[in-house]
Symmetry: C2
Subunit: 880 residues, 2 copies
Amino acid sequence: MAAKYVYLFSEGNGTMKELLGGKGANLAEMTNLGMPVPQGFTVTTEACTRYYEDDKIIADEIIDEIYANVKKMEEITGKNFGDVNNPLLVSVRSGARASMPGMMDTVLNLGLNDEVVIGLAKLTNNERFAYDSYRRFIQMFSDVVMEVSKKNFEEIIDELKDEKGVKLDNELDADDMKELVKRFKNYFKEQKGVDFPSEPKEQLIESVKAVFRSWNNERAIIYRRMNEIPGSWGTAVNVQAMVFGNMGGTSGSGVAFTRNPATGERKLYGEYLLDAQGEDVVAGIRTPQSIEEMKETLPDAYNKFVAIANTLEKHYKDMQDMEFTIENEKLYMLQTRNGKRTAAAALKIAVDLVEEGMITEQESILKVEPKQLDALLHPQFEQKALKAAKIAGKGLAASPGAACGKVYFTAEDAVKAVNDRKEKVILVRLETSPEDIEGMHVSEGILTVRGGNTSHAAVVARGMGTCCVCGCGDIEIHDESQDKYFTLNGEKVNQGDYISLDGSAGNIYIGQLPTVAAEITGDFEKFMAWADKYKRLKIRTNADSPSDAAKAVEFGAEGIGLCRTEHMFFEADRIMPFREMIVAKTVEQRKAALDKLLPMQRSDFEGIFKAMNGFPVTIRFLDPPLHEFLPTKAEDIASLAKELDITAEELEAIVVSLHELNPMMGHRGCRLAVSYPEIAEMQTRAVIEAAISVNKNGMSVVPEIMIPLICDINELKFVKKIVVETADNIIKSAGVDLKYQVGTMIEIPRACLLADEIASEADFFSFGTNDLTQMTYGLSRDDANKILDDYFTAKIFEADPTARLDQSGVGKLVKMTVELGRKVKPGIKLGICGEHGGDPSSIGFCHNAGLDYVSCSPFRVPIARLAAAQAAISGVKAGE
Amino acid sequence: MAAKYVYLFSEGNGTMKELLGGKGANLAEMTNLGMPVPQGFTVTTEACTRYYEDDKIIADEIIDEIYANVKKMEEITGKNFGDVNNPLLVSVRSGARASMPGMMDTVLNLGLNDEVVIGLAKLTNNERFAYDSYRRFIQMFSDVVMEVSKKNFEEIIDELKDEKGVKLDNELDADDMKELVKRFKNYFKEQKGVDFPSEPKEQLIESVKAVFRSWNNERAIIYRRMNEIPGSWGTAVNVQAMVFGNMGGTSGSGVAFTRNPATGERKLYGEYLLDAQGEDVVAGIRTPQSIEEMKETLPDAYNKFVAIANTLEKHYKDMQDMEFTIENEKLYMLQTRNGKRTAAAALKIAVDLVEEGMITEQESILKVEPKQLDALLHPQFEQKALKAAKIAGKGLAASPGAACGKVYFTAEDAVKAVNDRKEKVILVRLETSPEDIEGMHVSEGILTVRGGNTSHAAVVARGMGTCCVCGCGDIEIHDESQDKYFTLNGEKVNQGDYISLDGSAGNIYIGQLPTVAAEITGDFEKFMAWADKYKRLKIRTNADSPSDAAKAVEFGAEGIGLCRTEHMFFEADRIMPFREMIVAKTVEQRKAALDKLLPMQRSDFEGIFKAMNGFPVTIRFLDPPLHEFLPTKAEDIASLAKELDITAEELEAIVVSLHELNPMMGHRGCRLAVSYPEIAEMQTRAVIEAAISVNKNGMSVVPEIMIPLICDINELKFVKKIVVETADNIIKSAGVDLKYQVGTMIEIPRACLLADEIASEADFFSFGTNDLTQMTYGLSRDDANKILDDYFTAKIFEADPTARLDQSGVGKLVKMTVELGRKVKPGIKLGICGEHGGDPSSIGFCHNAGLDYVSCSPFRVPIARLAAAQAAISGVKAGE
């Protein structure tokens, strides 16, 4: 049987998201529930992937199927494409498996042409409405389908307004709209050399193609990369009969949530605009009214909507985000989906739904996006400073948290400031649009002049966990000249000046406000306790200091998976003895320098052991190449040489001799311990003496010593011998009974290939997936930026493998290592300490690969706990 | 049953080399053949490995077994350890599985003490001989076993000679020898604080230990690394009753080969010294007589020896290298082994033995060491220049070939000159010793003042295939002061001056002589034809120019496996347009520069296709990072900027932007084609147009385009699309029917892991094992020197993985790739083009892994052909 590429809404259901996309599946589900949905059909995601396979052509069989379904729509609605007396108008919207709000293209009012518009005017008895719809259609179709920019049409409107001496669009009358249609069509012909297409079926197929194409527009690709959505999924296209919220005072459009998406409060929360289409509400061009006011203006529609909202929430067992239109008092549902929400709201809703008996604990765990927790852990402003600070202005509290940064007015400038000058940035915009997505991503906070809580800026910022204040109409932006600034209630803020935003209160401050770390209470504790109940993976942290360690324990860390000893050497009081060690000409000189470092390192370890209070601590021995500790500029070399009491020439010679062409693959890791065994000896001494010392005070630390960059069993044997001899001597002299472990980083492909051999000498393996990824790909992270940019553009890579574990390549090595290692030593402890250890999808992989723990930065620990629980409850969701 | 660690010679046989070592097995075999071998026993290689496992202790059970066998020796010989009237004296010699001449330690005359020496003097009626033997024993034992340097004893001898007013050792009489024994023992006690051990059994066990220890001395480790002998093998120890060649005019020692080891001529070839021990012949201290002269001086012994030599050659079916001693006219065989020989001799012997009906073609192929062929392929002096040149002096033609280089007098200086200043070096020594091994290895040629054709210098140089002239007694070396020089027949040659050596004629020339490439004829052709008959692997070559290609075809190459297109761009007339390409600001500018390169590259390819005359040619697209084509020094940048007509600041900025922290893993390979598709387009055009052009003239080239540095299927798809579109367009326009292939380098670990995916898009895989090794090990070859030195010292690595394919790690990836690739595409063509493609043991691996071809540099092609044939005949020998 031939594949079916088109489904009427009545043929689908809510479980068919992969095929129909989220929007299509939910429209089908609402149709099945008997709700008032303007009918139509969905062209499947498979049609989209086929379109790309066929080299961007829609196969004839699919076109035929679309036409057959148009026929069915005509039968259902009793309206006909191109029928002057009773025209069928449709919207054409994208709808992918995962929600990608605003990323792809939409065409409304499709089906209009010079004849149909006359019929529409008659039918609605509203000539202005009909021609306004027509000119909007021409504009949208030209922009989306024919790549004639919307902006040029706006200029034509502005010209006409000038001619008529009016300021606002709604001051233009029906004749003006007719004139606009004429001018638009002329402009189109000028640009494209052909007449604007008048045949509705042609308009439809071109629009479907445009939506398919928009799956691969730049902002969609960036969004997918940020949200880890595979490019292979494709988008469905929903063709739906138009209803009009802009037909006067008894019409309108709105957006509402069944619970408050910012706080989670169980109360209908939404906005609507009278005499408006849905796009107007979302775009934030006019500021809408609260949904509760609808009770007064359109009571029937309101009551019906409330009933539907309740039904939908119970049906989907989750907070719903719904779009509706009222056409002449009649309510139509245009969309429902599980609503995006802040981290705090996500937690509250997850906990409330369990307590309301609607879902189980396990189900609630799957409802919170791990990355969202980040927002809860971000700093807030210091209470004292906050009280003393003067509020410069107020907007909507669109996305919680505190942010402080330098003002920039375009996404491009913001990206530049962050990338080139490492500044912290607040992006200030009239309103945001999908083109701004990258600038929003790099910003600490977002401030807009226009738009409500469901505006683009608000929705996207909440999704990112970025602080956002919206709709502060008091701001005037002056960004037309070189000297860019904004004014707010009489104060002037220049580009590059600091401001501070409180996204939880909607307050704006001029200057920098001090912040305090986030505090964790209530729903969070309850929810995370559930997560801990179901997860199998242990969560450790990467911490190099007692304070980091303490912070991580507070966040729920169950050990340290990576303590980088070299970070300690960069501190002011240690760098000099360390440098003495590097420039030593004899083993004796080197040992003398190491003797100075020993007490410092020992006391570091004591502090960390104490902070971890009995949790396991994995200490990695010196890893980076020695040249990282020496200066390279002539003047720095000269002054350091003086301090070290050698000549500048001598020091220069040492710096030159340490230079490497590819330091990533050079003299570092265990290779340092092979060349300078006395370093490993000193570090062993510091670890073991610290452990003995804290254990005397009642603890029972079992330190784990980790040897980095192993590629051969003989390396491990060599360094382990130093460690064991040193440790056993100290333990024997001290007359205590201290246990310790010696393990390795697995970060070189060869170690994975020979993991069975290496396991015979190792108590544990810790995957260093940062380096492992670099070497498996032959791609230096330090040099990857340009390459990755080009690869994203060429659609070769979808994700940055240094951020998200490459499960097919690097993952294959990890699985091989696990298998080989366990074959030789079934009880070997396995963990991961690369940055992937804090990435939810990578954690899912680690769970499925059978690791014992993941280790990540302290702030990522709660995310990891939740991701681990999700992986345990459903291997599919996180481990996709 | 407990392991047996000691075998009497009569208990072993010639097949037991792994257990008894080569020397022990052959002593056993000769014993079984009824030949006159001084009896004794062999302590096995297993005892040696056990010694290391037991942390350098000989287990009591092994000591007991040794003592039990001493007992048996006493029974066999009728002599007893420590018996004053009839003392048993023994030699203690190392003997590994593979011959390692002079690398390990030997103790002679063991069993002597203050009482026994008196008995020996009586028994031999030669007091001087007895005490001379005793003092030699003390000296050797102290040096080898107790680490009291031989040199210090030599000083004591010099002191005594001064006191006595004599010059030569043999001017010292029996009383002097007694005095020396006294002084030696005093010196020993001073140094070690204990008396010199007098108990023969103690002497024996300490000597066995010393031989075991010497397995891991520095020169043995270097020798093993150069000859690819695993450190795990260990050495056996042979304890043999002493016979004395130094008992007067009817005694002597000698070394002989059954055929001429320099030419292969079928004629007994050897040397002997009257009244000397074997060590004296080998050390080259006195210049020995030809073996034929023995017919006159010791006719009985000579006849017996000739008969034995014939028997041994027939028995072993190979040319034998034998050591013998004559004690009072009685012949004793001390050793036989397959003799080392020059490449020319190896070929002649291999061919002759087949033609004499002694061995099969296959057996003959296994008899020639592939690496030796190198020597045959090395340049000779230009005949004309040679005739005109004045011979400055003459020595023995010890190892053939022509060499020219700067004179250095110590191994250390030679190594320095080569490593630091990249000079070509001739090492000039009085005589060489095993300590010189590294200096000999780096030298173009070796010239000695003393020693014959079997001296250390001669044997080692032949093994290395290095040109060597020996025993030029006319040379006087003056190397005591700063100004080092030698004089030869009145001429003075300073350190650093050029000389030229003809190792085939034994001639020495002052200054530089021009050389010509080696010519291949006769035995070589016959032998290589046999090799080609039995090999399965195709042998291709790495060649970037028509002349290299032609040379390789002459050497038997069956195609080009790697043509590096970037090498063409470095040429003077191409570098400027290439640089224009790099600094281009727009695609158009870049294309304009590429347009200049197109005709040049096209004509390169035409030349190569013609030179290869229908053999397949694999062309790799641009691989190195672009910064390699730009200068880095300010003045070079300034002058280049002028040529390129841009400002120095602009060019500086480009150089900075191209700088990478780890260029090996940076913007190179296919990544360049992704960023600049127009480069791949131009290169495709050059390849395809060149192929069309030569095919018009009757050839039928099927070019193979190779995309480098692939780590992901999407990269290959992207670049392949450019290639295919460009190629197909050109072919269509030309109206011809050209076939071509598109394949990839496999040089990144991830490509191996995902070889099944990648195979679906590739016509062939070529393993780039240089980069694959670097990334699999995480070890940059450019930065590996210090690391490898330390790793060799620490015995972590035995071989340099960049020189010899790491079969356990990298090899595992290769095998995985072969398996995954063939699963998806059974007919996919598989080859290797890394430098390992010319390494015999790696070729053995490639054969066993099922590759279709190996590709190596032109001069290595014959080596590869032979190695491939050996691998096919016996997977074990080369693929170990």
